[in-house]
Symmetry: C2
Subunit: 358 residues, 2 copies
């Protein structure tokens, strides 16, 4: 099987994996079918569900059309049990409000080793990692199985580490991005804006490593902007969350479609820094939340699920990037084609602008 | 006199005004002379010094070559005297360390009305404002005098307000930018990354208002990136601070040239949120600093001046944007020409990339 290369894409647009709910095989199929690169999310999911997603996506796509799947690198050890217990004590009101019991905080590695086996066996065209860089041996094993390996970075140093581990590409995640900061260390979650980060990572890793840009990209102009800034492709997440193919929860969908609140970074929901639309849960709990992932994720999961089921947008994580107001409720294939067309127009206009000057 | 238009620029590159020290007529002349738009800083400066800068710059430039000057819009009233007094009490160590007495905190409007008179009389081609939007009447008065008026914005709402006041252009300042956040309200200093902000401001103000992009732009690739994202020009600040024409203090220059520390936002130096390279003063005082500009500016000015004179990089503000590591010590004209050339190459490469896909 030929390994994935970016030249295989009809459109240099990648759909972010949208772990934790919005991702579906139908969404990934629509994006890949339109010439972009659709993504599944393996994180948080049982092995059987990952396997089922892969089978469903493959059934929807012609042979040889590339797609990707995202997995979590094994997280480091976070705060101790005492900090998590103290945080749990502050969350009793959430349990009462939703009628759900708090979950049991525990550390786990999201079954990293078994997922690695599965993704090698399945010969997924692209596997991207968040929360860290897998060991060079694991990168090599995936590559021997025909899998291209991408690593999410939020600092130049992480870019250098991913390059040294043999990554085929890095996802350069600006601070604008919705959902979790994908970098290696939650104690230093990376605060660089996308454009600054693209330049700094490029300077740190040299000219050859492909950079996929992500964070706050919602329009074809911004797609053009990151391509001009040296990215080989643009990865969009929130922009796809209103698509009919996405499984975005109704209250989350409404918040993205009509929200006026700003976004902010918080550890309140999972114990790891992530960006969401500011809501009551964030306002009340962000100051108390420790850096303790996935312990806090497991602790709050039942109350967040209950709030989501009740359509209570103030009670669960409304992951969204800084440009979420610009998301549109259109089919994913139409979005991909429209973004590429708008990017083409934007690059032509910028070229004219630069030529007319001087 | 014909009013300024962006078509008058040979190169769509604007030099940020670099208020507070680094700005010089020689730097502005070099940038404007190379086809960009050089800027002077009127903020913090006595009227006579502003007048002298204008005369010096005009003597250096051929007639009709455009340039700009930055002024502060009148600041709102910040925290009360009690907060400033409490902060002053925490700064005694700085006074002892430097041998300088703390300054007297006071509110002033940087002689806004007199500077407005001067800039109208001088028929400066472009006046940009930070810290707020002047009243529509003042905008109109400047425009009647042949002056193009730009307003710095950090949120889409500020863009709408500037447009409503009749601004000829807005400077869209991403959170990556060094120095002061230039928006209207220090209580909500604007945390949007440049690429997200460009898209959101464009959506809010419509297609006609010219947007000048600033924040973390250090390379021709990023210049190309913001042009592709819909900006009419890129404004760079830190990128010019190592130029021989800049009056950057030696310790500040060294910190930019060889610094490894990250940047962060702080009110510690002036009472208004600004981005600088993290140093001892920031680490020790950021948590205590109230939002009280210009009171805190006047309070800390003598100890900062003393530290700067002693080349103590830990004792004064090291304003710098997130991409400061990429600044180069080259003459300003060479930098402008090189950035434009690199931007041209980057746009051509992005266009090829988009054409080869699909």
């Amino acid at each position: 099987m030929a390994a994935f290369t970016f030249d295989a894409l009809g459109v240099p647009i990648v759909q972010a994996p949208l772990g934790g709910g919005a991702s579906t095989p139908a969404l990934a199929a629509a994006v890949s079918g339109a010439g972009g690169l659709g993504f599944l999310a393996a994180g948080y999911k049982p092995l059987d569900a990952v396997r089922a997603d892969l089978e469903e996506l493959r059934a929807l796509l012609p042979d040889g059309v590339p797609f990707g799947i995202n997995a979590f690198a094994p997280p480091g050890r976070g705060a101790g049990g005492a900090d998590v217990a103290a945080y749990a004590a502050t969350l009793q009101g959430e349990a009462e409000r939703t009628g759900a019991a708090l979950g049991t905080p525990r550390w786990d590695d999201d079954r990293y080793a078994e997922k690695l086996d599965l993704l090698c066996e399945a010969q997924v065209p692209v596997v991207s990692f968040t929360f860290g860089c897998p060991p060079a041996g694991d990168v090599e094993r995936l590559q021997r199985a025909g899998v291209a390996v991408w690593v999410t970075v939020t600092t130049p140093d992480e870019g250098v580490a991913a390059s040294a581990a043999g990554a085929d590409a890095v996802i350069v995640q600006g601070v604008e991005a919705g959902g979790h900061r994908g970098g290696f260390d939650d104690a230093a979650p990376g605060e660089l804006g996308l454009l600054a980060l693209l330049q700094l990572v490029r300077a740190a890793v040299g000219d050859r490593l492909p950079l996929v840009a992500t964070g706050g990209i919602a329009t074809g102009r911004a797609v053009a902007g990151v391509l001009a800034s040296g990215a080989v492709a643009a990865q969009l997440g929130t922009a796809f969350m209103l698509c009919p193919e996405a499984a975005t929860a109704p209250a989350h969908r409404d918040a993205i479609a009509s929200g006026r609140a700003p976004t902010a970074l918080t550890r309140a929901f999972t114990g790891r820094t992530a960006r969401g639309i500011v809501n009551r849960f964030m306002r009340e709990h962000s100051a108390d939340a420790p850096s303790a992932y996935p312990e806090v994720h497991h602790l709050t999961a039942p109350v967040r699920t209950a709030a989501r089921r009740r359509d209570d947008a103030d009670g669960f994580h409304l992951w969204a990037g800084q440009a979420y107001n610009l998301a549109e409720a259109v089919p994913a294939a139409q979005l991909v084609v429209g973004l590429a067309e708008e990017a083409r127009t934007a690059l032509a206009a910028a070229t004219r602008r630069l030529d007319s000057a001087g």
